[in-house]
């Protein structure tokens, strides 16, 4: 179904997709933002990072992406410029306003030199996957915030990344749109599997999406706790109303509250 390095093969070998060992980060001579981060993503993981503002969770994502260098420890595999096979969905959709929706999704495929015919096919497939087949010829300014984010996700998945990093992708959206996009994200993942790190401020979002929730404390950012989410995929929207889900939500909220600065 998929080429080499496919999702199912990745599950077979248990080598982590990315491993952070003793990772630290400080900017210039400032205080450390992150310290002693030990974290490995296994193939198929959906790891949410939550924590108080300024705990460095977005910074951790940028380190993993290779957008900024670590100042302590290592992240494997090494990155020369940006880490290969890793794609980021930013908080802003960051669509290029002069390119139509289809051309935005096509951008990463074009930049890596895929032939035009296979690009077109893949773009069509991705836009179908995020439910935007109709919007292919539109320009970004003609889309709502939620639609822009879908395009951004389609663009990220077009290259079938080994690892997808999502930095508060739905933070600017209203709750209904956010819930809907969460469900869609899991549906997309069921069809086109990827391993993910997901930064969010929303505990409910983290629990609903992930199999692992990592709670960071601030000043400097460290891993305070990791919570395993036992629910199997696919997860129906009604999962949110079950007592088990609510109990886990309470536990996670409690863990988050315990690391908040007084």
């Amino acid at each position: 179904m998929r080429g080499k390095g496919g999702f199912n093969n990745q599950i077979m070998d248990s080598a982590p997709i990315v491993r952070c060992s003793g990772v630290g980060k400080r900017f210039g001579n400032g205080p450390p933002v992150l310290e002693g981060i030990e974290l490995a993503a296994q193939p198929g993981d959906f790891i949410s990072l939550i924590g108080p503002s300024g705990c460095g969770k977005s910074t951790l994502l940028r380190l993993i992406a290779g957008l900024t260098p670590v100042t302590g420890g290592r992240i494997l595999p090494e990155a020369r410029r940006a880490r290969e096979g890793v794609f980021v969905v930013f908080q802003d959709a960051n669509l290029l306003p002069w390119r139509r929706v289809a051309a935005n999704v096509e951008l990463p495929l074009m930049l890596r030199g895929d032939p035009p015919a296979s690009r077109r096919e893949r773009v069509r497939e991705m836009l179908g996957l995020v439910g935007l087949a109709e919007a292919a010829r539109k320009f970004p300014w003609q889309l709502s915030g939620g639609m822009k984010m879908r395009v951004s996700i389609a663009r990220a998945l077009s290259v079938q990344p080994r690892l997808l990093l999502l930095d508060e992708p739905f933070g600017a959206l209203d709750e209904m749109t956010r819930d809907r996009l969460n469900e869609d994200l899991l549906a997309i993942r069921a069809r086109d599997p990827f391993t993910a790190f997901f930064v969010t401020h929303s505990v409910a979002e983290a629990v609903f999406l992930s199999n692992r929730v990592v709670v960071l404390s601030a000043n400097p950012g460290r891993i305070a706790r990791e919570i395993t989410v036992p629910f199997s995929y696919p997860r129906p929207p009604e999962l949110r109303e079950t007592p088990e889900f609510l109990a886990l939500l309470a536990e996670t909220s409690h863990a988050l509250r315990s690391v908040l600065p007084r």
């Binding site: 794609f87 960051n94 890596r112 320009f139």
Partner: protein, 262 residues
């Protein structure tokens, strides 16, 4: 494009009528002779009488303006591109570009005549000098103020330097480049007329607009002298209209300044 409303033509028409009436009133009340201040009617009559000469002068000056403008826009774009990618080069060159801009063309023109002789090349050189800086200043700014989020998308895609220029920097700089071009477009006719005034020649009694200004003045054809002013306005409007059309053509699909206002 915006739909014209009644006030969009009626208000300027009323203002024009008031001005013309004031003009006649001033001339009659002050008893000002036509060789000092011709009436609007006399100017229009002179413009009609001299129409062949004046239209020919538009062509002569227009040619110098277009050539100087095109060279300045093309050269300015290339220089900005180079400067945007070499900080050292920008540092080295910018003070001298600024110096050239500070030197009045009135001083440069005789030097151009010395080097290039009277006629078109010197006129083009003067126009080039006056148009070059706004293009360089704006376009350089455009290349350097590319959104960080967009740049990171290209980093994540591991785009080459050339790809980043071709698919990101150049389109992102377009609005700035076109702004520079608009300013240059208003200056080009002025530059060409100035050049013509200082370095213009004639063939069969017909020269550029600047040349005709001198000719009419020395012949004391004062209403015709005023009519050259009208001619210069006409050339300016043609130029600015052309550049605005270009701006619209390139940006109307996506840029905030023009998109979505149809």
């Amino acid at each position: 494009m915006k739909r014209p409303t009644i006030s969009s033509w009626l208000l300027p028409a009323i203002a024009g009528a008031v001005l013309v009436a004031a003009w006649y009133l001033l001339k009659a009340a002050g008893g000002i002779p036509s060789y000092v201040l011709p009436s609007p009617g006399e100017i229009l009559a002179a413009a009609w009488h001299e129409r062949r000469t004046l239209l020919a002068s538009i062509l002569v000056t227009g040619r110098g303006a277009v050539l100087g403008f095109v060279l300045a826009v093309g050269g300015g774009f290339l220089l900005s591109l180079v400067m945007a990618f070499s900080f050292r080069l920008k540092r080295s060159l910018y003070p001298y570009i600024l110096m050239l801009q500070m030197t009045p063309v009135i001083i440069l023109a005789p030097i151009f005549v010395l080097w290039l002789g009277q006629g078109l090349p010197a006129i083009v050189a003067v126009t080039f000098m006056i148009c070059f800086f706004p293009v360089v200043a704006n376009t350089t700014m455009g290349f350097l103020s590319v959104d960080r989020g967009w740049r990171e998308v290209f980093t994540i895609c591991r785009a080459s330097r050339w790809q980043e220029i071709r698919y990101l920097r150049v389109p992102a700089a377009m609005p700035y480049f076109l702004t520079g071009m608009k300013i240059a477009g208003t200056l080009a006719p002025i530059g060409a007329i100035t050049g013509d005034f200082l370095a213009g020649t004639q063939q069969n009694g017909v020269g550029g607009i600047g040349f005709m200004t001198i000719a009419y003045f020395s012949q004391l054809k004062i209403p015709a002298l005023f009519a050259t002013g009208l001619t210069a306005c006409l050339l300016g409007f043609l130029f600015v209209g052309g550049v605005s059309l270009l701006h619209w053509l390139i940006l109307h699909r996506w840029h905030e300044s023009v998109a979505g206002k149809e």
